[in-house]
Structures are given as C-alpha cells and as structure tokens.
Symmetry: C2
Subunit: 437 residues, 2 copies
C-alpha cells in the first residue's frame, strides 16, 4: 500500500508556474496519467501526465531519453495508445516514474530546459480512454444510495439482507465506456407504467446520471487465485471520475431477476485523468463499521483497512442546460458528496471480487457505485434528488428538472484536501444527452 | 441472412477421407473455425478450419497463396492469434472464404496436392479462445429454465412479469472465459443457509454447469445506433458450445438486487470450434409464440424471424467422474435438449441488446442462457435435474450426484440434423473441477 513520501510534500513547487496556482487540480503532488494527442491531429495517442494547465508528453520524455532504470521502463510502457502495459507493471514501476517526474518537474530541476519542449497545453489536446477496459464491474457501495433507490424500487424492502455482508456488485458493459466529452442519443427501450397492462416502446423518460468513482486495476491475478485484503491495494493503479448513466424507466421494468442491463449499457463516461493510488495517500481516513451493523467476515477484514481503508475523495455534480449555454450562464450545482461515506472500501471490493478465483487483467475497471452521502442533498443521482420523480429540482437559473432533458450536459468533478497537504483534483467528466434517434 | 447454397449440398464429398465418415462432426458442409497450434509447440496460434479429423491450417493456406479475392483477404485476416478482424469483415468475406474452402476441399479439387501439407491432425493440436471476447452478455432464453429456476429461488413468483416481453439478459465476465479443457478450483465465497442468522464463508457446496450456446458477434455497430431485426443475423458470425459454470449457493445469497456476480464469474468454458451462421442455414425452423402468450413488441418482430428464426441445434451434457476415469468407464449422459425451444431467437437477442444504442464489437459473445427443454429430463443444469438438490441423480455406473464434485469433468456436445442434409457437429466443450484452494 502506498505510503506518504517526498512526492506528497506540500513545500514542493514546480517550474511549471500554473502548477503552483491556488486551486489547480494538478499541482506537482498529483501527477495523474491520461492518454492524449494534439487536437485535430493525426498523432498517435500516447501517455501524458498533468502538471498545472499542461500535459507532460511521455512520448517526448522517452524520445529525449531523460529517465533511467525502472522509471525509464515505466515511461516507455506508458508511451502507448493504452496504458494497460504500464498499469500491469506494478507499484515498483508506478512509484519510480512518479518519483522521477516529481523530481524532474520541481523548481530547480536540471531537466527543466530539456522538458519544456515536452509540454502541451491541456487546452490544445484531446483525450482517449486511458486504457483498454477488458471487464468493468459496478459496485453498490453507498448504503445511502442503496437504501434510497431500494425504497423507490421496493418500498417494502429497501435494503436487502445481504447488503451489510456482501459488497454487492455486477458486471457492466465495457464497449460503451467513453471518455469525457461523450455525447450519445437518449436511449430507447421497453418500459411499463405501473398501471399499464402491457409494456410500450419509446425513448427513455427518466434519464439519469450516477456520480461514481472508477477504479483501474493494475497488476492482475491468475484465474483460480484470490487477492488477500492485505495485498489488495497493490493491485489498484488509480482512480477516475465515472458517470454511470442510467435509464430509470427501462431499469424498473427489466432488472428482475438478473440485474440492470439496457438501462445502463448505452453509455458510461470516464474522466481522462487517472489519479494514482499513491497520489491519494495523504487523503486516507479510517474505515469503521457501526457497532450496530454486522462486522465483515474475516476475508474482508484487516487492521490496515480499518486504519486507512477509506479515502476522502470529494465529488460534485453540475448540470449545464442548453438554455444556460445559450445565455452564457454557468452550470448549476446539483449535489456534493465524498467517497469516505462508502460502506465498503476499495480493498474490500478487490478482495471480494477475486475470493472465488475470478481473475483481473491490467486496466479492468471497478465502479464504486453511486456515491450518495448521508443527507438527501448529498445524493448522487436525480432519481434520489427528485425522490423518484415526485419532486421538482430548481436549478440556479430557475429552470426545473426531475430527470435529464435533451441537450443537458452533466459535469462531475472530484478533489481531495487534507491538513498539511495540497489540494489535488481529478479534473472533470462531462457528457451530453442528444435527442433520441 | 445466410441462404442455403452449394456449400450445403449433401452430395459433396471431401478428399479428406475422415470428413466423409458417418457421424463425423466435421463433414465438408460444416467448416467451422478455431484458433490452434501444434501441441507442446511454440508456434503462434492461428486460425484453422475443421475437416473430418484434421485441421486445415489457414496460415499454411495463406503462405501457399492458393486463394484470391475476398476469400484470400478473409484467410489472411483469419491467419492470426484471434479471429476478431476476420469476424469484423462481415458476411461477404465469411461466405467467400467458406465457398473457396468448400471447393478446395472437395473430391477432385485441383488444390488437393497443394493443401495436403496444410492439414494437421486434430489429435495433435491445442486450441486457444477463437477471439478476444471484449464483452460477454448472458441471456435467459429458455422459459423452461427460467420457470424451473425461478420456482427454486422464488417459489411464490417463479416467472416474473417481464419475462414474456423482454429478452432478459445481463453482463458477464470476459476475463475468466476459457477454452475447452479448462480446469479450475472450486470457488469459495459467502453463503447463507435459510435457517442461519449470519452468512458463512467456504467452498461452494452446490457447484453446477449450465448447458448453453455461445454466439459470436461479427460486424459491430456504432454507439448510438441500433441493429434492426431484419439486419440482426448479418451481425452474427457463428455459434459455439458454452458451459456457464454456476455456484448456486453463492448465487442465492448474492444475486439480489443486481443479479449474479461471483456465482458465475470464476470460470466459463467455450468449445474451440465456431460453427458459422451460414453452416447452420439448413437447420433453421420456424419460430412461433403461443397464442396465449403476448406477441413481441414491433421492434422484435419480423416475417423472416417467424419463418426461420429458430435453429434446431441439439445439445447434450455428460458427466465423467474420477471413478469413471480410473475404471475406464465412459461418461454418463445427464440430459439432452435443443436450442429450438428457445423463447427468443438470436435475431431478437441482437436487436434487443442494441435497441438502446449499445454497441457491439467483433468477437463479443452472447450466451443463450441454459437451454432446458420442456420436459424435466431435458433440463440443462443439475439444479433443475436434482430439483434444487432435493433429488439424487444416479449415473450410469451407479454413482450419485446432486451437484458437481471435485474431479468431475462435464462434457457438452452439439449437433444438427435435417432431412436432406448432412449431420454437422460442434465438437465438445469440456471442463474439470479441481479441489478448492
């Protein structure tokens, strides 16, 4: 598990001036990874690292031959249109590259003049998915979300008996995961009104977002092997923001008995930047289980997980309507929450997922599930905020919503703060609803 | 949609004598694809075509430069460790290669002497997965299975109201799909006995198989586009046998509300050979919906689907215990069924899956769901045959089973027969249970 080290030191400044600006998502203590190229170019996509408002081009870093040892090997692997190989190298290589880049980007680094040519303004680039996502599993780790949604789908039985024992998860669709900027038509499908005799077919009427984190697996495991909880975080490369778009009316009709399917697989959107597990070390917090709740079974229990298994990743979600765009108004904030409320930790998700021998491959993704907080205002979906479409949400410009309308852009942001450490951010994930085809 | 053509002619004989033997799975009218190499070699895996007891090595065919036009392009694409590119080329190329190989392998072909060196005995090869399976979706198309299983999991509510309207499906795990011969440890996990207060952890006690077909997608679709039912089969490359191993005790405890997860993702096994949709043209049959049942919504309805949407693919399942192996006894047959009983057709699965804009990539796989027939004896799982573990199944050598034991090998076979046409077969899919780790 990642420890705090010199790369987290709040005193560090970068020779990239924008990285030292108050409020930047990308100070030198962050150093997240993405796959990018110059906008409107035919360049190959390759790995890059965010520093202030710039991208450090790992292709240019490799070409200039500025690194050595494990860091050089790691940079070469990350100089590719997908980061899977780099992700599969493991903590030793991830840390070596992070440390080398931290030193190279610091004020006073001898490499400054060599690296200045390797910077590309973030405004001038476009992103691809950071890796090939072989399998994607969505968890359901917010008990507040599970309870709120359960009370809408099953009023008599909101939280099922397994919830407090099993980190509930299900497999999602990889092919329709896109990077921030994704725009997709409103899905069509079957729905059935509660008072209707038969279902009908048409565009979704209850289109929603879900505020989640995506968790990228690094080093995998062999089929038949399990990852013990003490080793679990060594397999976690990093985190992104994740919008798990959901068609609630399709979901209500289709989801029994085998779970959500067409209600989810039409699109899912990730932020371009992957914040490494190592970068998140200062924002860890203890994880506890209320004494009135069942304590985890032994395979999901460790001292380390109790002490620092949770992470205070704050997240918010904003809505930008067509009207706001045409009037130049800023997006309207819908809610804010934190991953620290999660009922299960990342380590518990990893261990549970593999306890039966299921194998991970580098680049596989876990969704955290919608990260609703304990208060109604902290809900991570419109389904919850509108109480199942029963209440109207008034936006900052006076527009109203119960669910998403065509032209709506949903924006999610994430960041971490802790005493004695810098604020670091995730950038954003944005996606836009087009009219049904 | 594939039509009957000269490649299906029952009169055709091959110069490969074993392809003309009565009862062979691989007469010249079949020509299924696999990815193979010589056993215990360091050869690259590449595409091959079954003919009698031989594999026609597409690498050797390409090297010998014996084909031309679309067939040559298709063979080049199939000369690869994964058939995804070939699968993505579409019907025109698949058909061109099938026709060229059918002519080249016929008695009297001028190419016989050139091709004889391109044959490798099936006994001398090992197989890989035929393609990279990006996403795998499992359907639930046997109403007999859904009713039988539903009555065990939900005695009061076996068949849910959506079943007769929605082709129910859910996403499965791709990483743990292996090719025939897969052996894996008995999964461990959480279970809860009905009379227990709390769950416990340990090896699965109700390990089961599921007798399914796997359906490989060929040409994909763009995110946001749907595949109309009239075009659906043009996207289906072919079919394999598929064993969707299931841990019933894990499943019962974990599956609500988001569906099966660890109960299924520890292993799934496919047969090496992919029988093309074109090869199956003679075995099609009409699809009908009982007049007392709801008729499909319009997007799932077509004249072609009514006339020939179903396929009479017969399948059986056999169990070979350690005792049978040590005594040289043959495997004991458990049941036999046919895909013609499916409540939904392949075209309906494809169209439903994409009606919301979900995108397919070449090589994606659909599971048919367990193909239980209308009679109890035709059930495709032990859960059904043992009526939820309440009844003992006696094997041909006198051994008894309710669920699978360590050392058990499950063997599934598939074949098609129709008046006026050859019998063609799928070969087999085999998998073995190892003790829990």
């Amino acid at each position: 598990m990642s420890q705090i080290n010199e790369t987290h030191d709040i005193q560090l400044k970068s020779w990239v001036a924008s990285a030292n600006a108050t409020g930047t998502d990308f100070p030198i203590q962050n150093l997240p990874f993405a796959v990018f190229r110059r906008k409107n170019s035919n360049e190959e996509f390759r790995g890059g690292v965010a520093i202030g408002d710039q991208v450090l081009d790992l292709g240019a870093v490799v070409d200039a031959n500025l690194l050595s040892g494990d860091a050089a090997e790691a940079a070469e692997a990350a100089n590719a249109p997908a980061l899977n190989e780099f992700m599969g190298m493991g903590q030793q290589y991830w840390s070596a590259l992070r440390l080398a880049l931290s030193r190279a980007l610091r004020e006073g680094s001898e490499l400054q003049s060599s690296l200045e040519g390797a910077l590309v303004a973030q405004d001038d680039v476009e992103y691809a998915l950071p890796c090939h996502i072989g399998d994607y599993t969505d968890f359901y780790t917010s008990i507040y979300h599970a309870t709120a949604v359960g009370s809408l789908f099953r009023p008599d039985n909101p939280l099922l008996p397994n919830y407090k024992w099993v980190p509930i998860g299900y497999h999602g669709r990889s092919s329709s995961i896109g990077v921030s900027g994704q725009a997709f038509p409103r899905p069509k499908g079957q729905t059935k009104a509660p008072d209707a005799d038969t279902p009908s077919f048409g565009p979704c009427k209850r289109l929603d977002y879900e505020l989640e984190l995506g968790i990228y697996l690094g080093k995998g495991n062999e089929l038949g092997d399990s990852i013990a909880i003490k080793d679990a975080e060594d397999h976690v490369f990093g985190f992104c923001l994740f919008n798990d778009w959901s068609a609630r009316d399709l979901q209500a009709w289709e989801y029994q008995p085998l779970g959500p399917f067409l209600a989810k697989n039409f699109a899912s959107t990730v932020s371009p930047w992957v914040v490494t597990t190592e970068a998140l070390a200062p924002y860890r917090t203890n994880w506890h289980r209320d004494e009135n709740d069942p304590q985890p079974l032994e395979y999901l229990e460790s001292t380390q997980n109790r002490e620092s298994g949770a992470i205070d990743i704050r997240m918010d979600v904003l809505l930008e309507t067509e009207k706001m765009r045409s009037e130049g108004a800023k997006a309207s904030k819908l809610s804010e929450s934190s991953f620290k409320h999660s009922y299960w930790t990342v380590a518990q998700m990893v261990t549970h997922h593999t306890v039966n021998g299921c194998n991970f491959l580098p680049g596989d993704m876990l969704g955290s599930g919608t990260q609703s907080g304990p208060e109604h205002e902290e809900a991570g979906s419109l389904l919850e905020l509108s109480r199942g479409g029963k209440e109207t949400i008034t936006l900052e410009n006076g527009e109203e919503r119960k669910f998403l309308e065509d032209g709506d852009k949903v924006i999610m942001r994430g960041w971490c703060e802790a005493d004695g450490y810098n604020r670091i951010g995730f950038g954003s994930v944005e996606g836009t609803i087009l009219p049904a085809k």
